[in-house]
């Protein structure tokens, strides 16, 4: 499917509407909404420095967005992204620490592979539960998130704990040269590359390969997919695996580029925000690129809201929530709007 007019207008309209409601919310808190908008803009996109902040936030979002967007093309709603990020990060740090003696590139490769495997299996499991056992992937994904966080706490306070990390438990650190570097002259780490490449590969997979086509048939109508003999179960589980693998890499990037070790910050909410990104992008991998940057900018601006307007840190969560509400609402509008280049609602003749 090509990106058509409404694919862009509708989500951008939802963003605008959410911003408006958010402004009212700020006004109710006694803060001038215009000032808030200005701060958000400045913090996210106002200067090269803030662009760098935005890109740092965008890199895990790119991968977490794919975690929902890829299975969605096969017709499955995945919201277990956060859990996949966490187990991906845990897999990565475990692989990184056990290959600490090996050359840096080898170790990093193992970390990526371990992260993909852990995140992938995590989501594939949840999708398989839905397909073969009738347990909604939404429910199991949500529960698996808690399980992943519990597993993380267990590991970083138990077997993986670095005894010298007193007040906030963490694993042993990765050797310094076993971490992801930065683009020269910036504080944007190479994790961004994983995200961008991930989106491009995902786009290629969906739009240009027979596998992606099969996925779309299954997502478009399961009955038809069965009629033409496609292995629906294998397809959806595979789509779940690929999505989860992306989220897993996001966890690896957090470990290997941002924190240098495994700690509680693995559970920083990028997974949840990734769901928002995927819905804004209408589950299109290229759209994920666009909206990761937009949402990354908002996330980057959250600190600024506190400093400049004395608003609590969680304020940005309110904005994200509002945004989500509007994008879900806009789905009911989608297709009914008369937008040039758009098509009317598909009413069966």
């Amino acid at each position: 499917m090509k990106l058509k007019g409404p694919d862009l207008f509708v989500p951008l309209g939802a963003v605008a509407a959410a911003m408006l409601v958010f402004g009212v919310f700020c006004a109710a808190l006694g803060v001038n909404p215009l000032g808030v908008y200005a701060s958000l803009w400045k913090a996210g996109f106002g200067s090269w420095y803030s662009w760098q902040n935005t890109l740092v936030r965008a890199s895990p979002l790119l991968l977490c967005g794919l975690c929902t967007a890829l299975p969605a093309r096969a017709g499955i709603i995945v919201i277990g992204n956060e859990g996949a990020v966490v187990v991906g990060g845990l897999g990565a740090i475990t692989a990184g620490l056990s290959t600490a003696q090996m050359p840096s590139l080898v170790s990093l490769t193992f970390m990526v592979l371990a992260a993909m495997l852990c995140g992938g299996l995590w989501i594939a499991f949840s999708v398989a539960l839905q397909h073969y056992r009738g347990v909604s992937a939404v429910i199991s994904g949500l529960l698996l998130n808690y399980l992943a966080i519990a597993l993380m706490n267990q590991l970083i306070e138990g077997p993986l704990r670095d005894p010298s990390s007193f007040n906030s438990p963490a694993t042993f650190p990765l050797p310094l040269d076993h971490r992801l570097g930065f683009f020269s002259g910036t504080h944007v780490h190479h994790g961004l590359l994983f995200g961008v490449i991930g989106c491009l590969v995902a786009w290629f997979l969906v739009e240009r390969t027979t596998f992606g086509f099969s996925m779309k048939v299954a997502g478009g109508n399961v009955r038809t997919a069965k009629l033409v003999g496609l292995p629906v179960g294998r397809l959806v589980v595979m789509a779940g695996f690929l999505g989860g693998a992306c989220a897993g890499i996001a966890g690896m990037v957090e470990v290997a580029a941002v924190h240098g070790r495994g700690n509680e910050s693995l559970n920083a909410g990028y997974g949840y925000t990734g769901i928002l990104v995927a819905f804004l992008a209408r589950q299109s991998p290229l759209g994920v690129m666009l909206f990761s940057v937009l949402v990354g900018g908002l996330v980057a601006g959250s600190g600024m809201l506190q400093r400049a307007h004395d608003l609590p840190d969680a304020t940005i969560t309110v904005l994200e929530g509002t945004l989500f509400l509007f994008i879900l609402l806009s789905d009911t509008v989608y297709g009914r709007l008369k937008i040039p280049g758009g098509k009317a609602n598909a009413v069966a003749a």
Partner: protein, 504 residues
């Protein structure tokens, strides 16, 4: 309340570059039974959706009792007593008849007083033309009963101008006569006007006062039924007289190809819907399965198509076990044409060309290097099939869900018949809702496949179709094959009794 006087003046409606309805005018004084005819894709559904205010017309006005109707407002139309039964069912399957009727009311209060509603409903049902148990769940009703409930719903909402979009394509002729006859009586009593879209001339002559004919969006003719005959109407519809059928049976059947070995399947409600169906279809033979809808035909087809679990039995093709995997479908050259192709055999949001490629996309020339999709090859193949099977509009990039019902059927038929030489073809009600030209076309295609040596299993509720095409006919009743005959030896009264489940 009297039926309203409806007048449409110069209605035009375009979708992109396509003029689906082009300057059509129509005047329906109170108390008429009028037919709207036209080939598939002529714009009938689009025109009535404009009348209903479901689509805003690009040009033209709809006048109700002389007053222009506010455009794009189905609610306003409903206020004037205009109501419509759509081409597809709109009832909520998991709810009962009563719930469906009550919940359709536009002025529904926040809290429903079910007791009062039930009293009202009982009163309504007492004087209603058909009888349906208000407590039965929609999903347990047959197509004919569902159609009655759709119409009852409109009457319950005090519709005085009833638009019916091909209400009888899912009904047996007897059911259709019953439903239309009762409506005709209401029209005669001056309680109702009806605008009927249909492809069946028989119904037009039996029930309608006048006709309007559309061809490719334009008004191609109109007149009083009394002044017309079917040849003249066919000519108005197609712009040419009905062609002679070209394909006849040119060979006699050969050896066995398809063997259904005691197939069993369970229906949606958990009861056994298909019981030990056993039959053989030979090379160059069409075997028909007749029956009233709801006797397990749908479940049988779904079991054969891999859309429903087979609880017993097996399928064999040329002596080999057949399973609905991609490899076997291809190897056995096994193709299926289910009913309601939009729901059962297409991905509505994907394009026509993509839908046509579903059987072949993962092998050369559509697939390159083992994994790449050649989108140009798909587009080219789509264009060729669209031309060969006259799908309209001839645009492969259009979402298949935007085609008219008949054209979806053509596109799916193109895929199933052109993805390789056919060895086995299973079709279910392939002509539901098609105009006579398309029906002739599809019948020709089925006969052609038969003459080319395919084993064809044709499940149909249209007995005339089976008598014309099949070499042997089975009757299916309550999930079992209860009777076998040939068209030559067929005793219609006996078949009818077998279909109704009366053993002799």
């Amino acid at each position: 309340m009297k039926p309203p006087d409806i007048e449409a003046v110069g209605i035009t409606k375009t979708f992109g570059a396509l003029k689906a309805v082009d300057n059509v005018s129509l005047h329906l004084p109170p108390g008429v039974f009028h037919a709207l005819l036209g080939e598939n894709g002529a714009g009938k559904s689009t025109l009535v959706k404009c009348l209903m205010g479901f689509y805003p017309a690009d040009q033209g006005v709809v006048k109700v009792n002389g007053e222009p109707l506010r455009v794009g407002s189905p609610k306003e139309a409903r206020r004037h007593g205009i109501g419509m039964v759509f081409q597809h069912f709109t009832l909520v399957p998991s709810m009962t008849v009563a719930e469906n009727l009550v919940l359709a009311r536009p002025d529904l209060p926040m809290v429903i007083d079910w007791k009062a509603e039930r009293v009202r409903l009982a009163e309504f049902l007492k004087q209603a033309p058909f009888h349906v148990d208000p407590d039965s769940r929609i999903s347990t009703l047959s197509a004919g009963q569902k159609q009655k409930v759709e119409i009852l719903k409109e009457l319950y909402l005090e519709t005085r101008f009833l638009i019916l979009d091909e209400p009888t394509s899912v009904l047996t002729p007897q059911e259709a006569d019953e439903v239309l006859g009762l409506l005709r009586r209401m029209v005669d009593r001056g309680e109702l006007s009806v605008l009927l879209i249909t492809h069946k001339f028989r119904e037009v002559f039996a029930f309608c006062d006048g006709v309007t004919v559309l061809r490719r969006g334009k008004q191609a003719g109109a007149g009083r039924t009394a002044d017309l005959d079917s040849a003249r109407m066919a000519e108005m519809m197609m712009g040419e007289a009905r062609a002679e059928r070209k394909v006849g049976k040119t060979r006699s059947p050969g050896g066995p190809v398809l063997y259904l070995d005691g197939i069993g399947a369970v229906g949606d409600s958990g009861v056994e819907a298909v019981k030990e169906v056993r039959l053989t279809v030979r090379e160059g033979e069409i075997v028909g399965i007749a029956g009233v809808s709801g006797n397990g035909q749908r479940e049988l087809l779904e079991a054969i198509a891999g859309q429903r679990e087979m609880t017993a039995g097996a399928i064999t093709v040329d002596g080999e076990r057949h399973l609905p995997t991609r490899e076997m479908l291809l190897q056995h050259r096994f193709f299926i044409l289910p009913e309601e192709p939009l729901r059962n055999a297409s991905a509505p949001r994907m394009s026509v060309a993509e839908n046509i490629a579903f059987r072949l996309f993962d092998r050369p020339p559509f697939q390159k290097f083992g994994f790449l999709l050649d989108r140009k090859a798909i587009a080219d193949f789509g264009r060729e099939m669209i031309r060969k099977f006259s799908v309209r509009p001839p645009e492969g990039e259009l979402a298949i869900g935007d085609l008219s019902g008949g054209n979806v059927q053509r596109a799916i038929l193109a895929r199933e018949l052109s993805s390789g030489k056919v060895r086995v073809l299973v079709a279910a009600n392939p002509c539901f809702g098609l105009d006579f030209k398309a029906v002739d076309f599809i019948h020709d295609q089925l006969l052609q496949a038969r003459n080319d040596g395919a084993a064809v299993l044709l499940i149909s509720e249209d007995l005339d179709e089976l008598l014309e095409l099949a070499d042997r006919i089975f009757v299916m009743s309550e999930g079992k094959l209860v009777f076998e005959t040939t068209p030559e030896a067929a005793d219609l009264a006996l078949i009818g009794r077998q279909m109704a489940g009366q053993r002799v």
